[in-house]
Symmetry: C2
Subunit: 156 residues, 2 copies
DNA sequence: TTTAATTAAATTGTGTACAATTTAATTAAG
DNA sequence: CTTAATTAAATTGTACACAATTTAATTAAA
């Protein structure tokens, strides 16, 4: 590993590495936040935050899933999910029930309202993309780029 | 704009768009969080969080900058920055002083300790990259990819 | 100039994130 | 079988992140 550090230093000035725009994470961090802000006007009418939206996305893909598996899909732990799921329950979009065969698990299921909300949410991805890109030329390359990035990250 | 929506629907099923892995933002959001977690063991010894680290990065690039301009660089508002800057001040890394010519502005300057911390932080970017990538082959393409993505986002 | 509008920070309130701990249930080991 | 280890959620505590409001200072307009 030390060899690799040396390799990088051969070609790039160490000081440049601290430059904000060279930071691997900073770009991701800013892009992510900026896009999440773009979701807000689209999700507000549905009564959803970004986090509750992706939670429902996961449930629309796979209903009746426990908190642990949901967290694995969303890369969120119970500390984040539990309060969000309680709010979704209070909004009558999901139910939270202890699993009868293993009382440690809590199963999350969509209610009729939760399922119906999907129809309203169908337009969100397109609206988001329209609000980001002027035209759709860049779109597929953008998605490919991000997916490959995501796969790369999963090798962590 | 409606034309563009139609174009997308011609090629991609509307329902597929809701699939989590097709989500533009979700990939960014997860990658960003995962990398920030990777910073933690590197920043803990310096007594920094990720946000205070990028704040110092900005100051190491440009010292003696007011909160507004710092926020523009970091894409953070005063609601986030003020508490962080107060903590950095309490840690003796920066000073916060009202600008004499315009008392509305607060100038942030590095202390001697704040400047010296940069030397310790020089190794962080390399260490981070080593902890993410097994080898450094993918590195420059990764940075290019993210920089182009970032530039794209700045056209919002 | 005296008020009105603008601007920069700070403050307030809400909503994540996540580490660490706790609680309760299940499984494994002796 | 009974205790020990493990597991899943929930809880607790800390730290952002940002919208909206407030406060104080500056600038613009009447």
């Amino acid at each position: 590993m030390h060899d690799n550090i040396e390799n990088i230093n051969d070609t790039v000035n160490k000081d440049d590495f601290l430059k904000l725009d060279n930071q691997l994470c900073f770009s991701l961090y800013v892009c992510s936040k900026e896009i999440i802000k773009k979701y807000k006007p689209l999700l507000d009418p549905l009564g959803l935050t970004y986090t509750s939206y992706i939670t429902l996305l996961a449930l629309w893909e796979e209903d009746n899933i426990n908190v642990k598996d949901l967290g694995k899909k969303l890369y969120l732990d119970s500390g984040t999910l539990t309060p969000i799921l309680k709010k979704l329950e209070a909004a009558n979009l999901v139910t939270r029930t202890r699993c009868v065969t293993d009382e440690r698990n809590v199963n999350i299921s969509l209610t009729k309202e939760g399922m119906e909300l999907k129809e309203k949410a169908l337009s969100v991805p397109n609206e988001l993309i329209c609000s980001i890109f002027k035209d759709n030329e860049n779109f597929s390359s953008g998605i490919d780029l991000l997916n490959s990035l995501h796969r790369l990250m999963e090798t962590f």
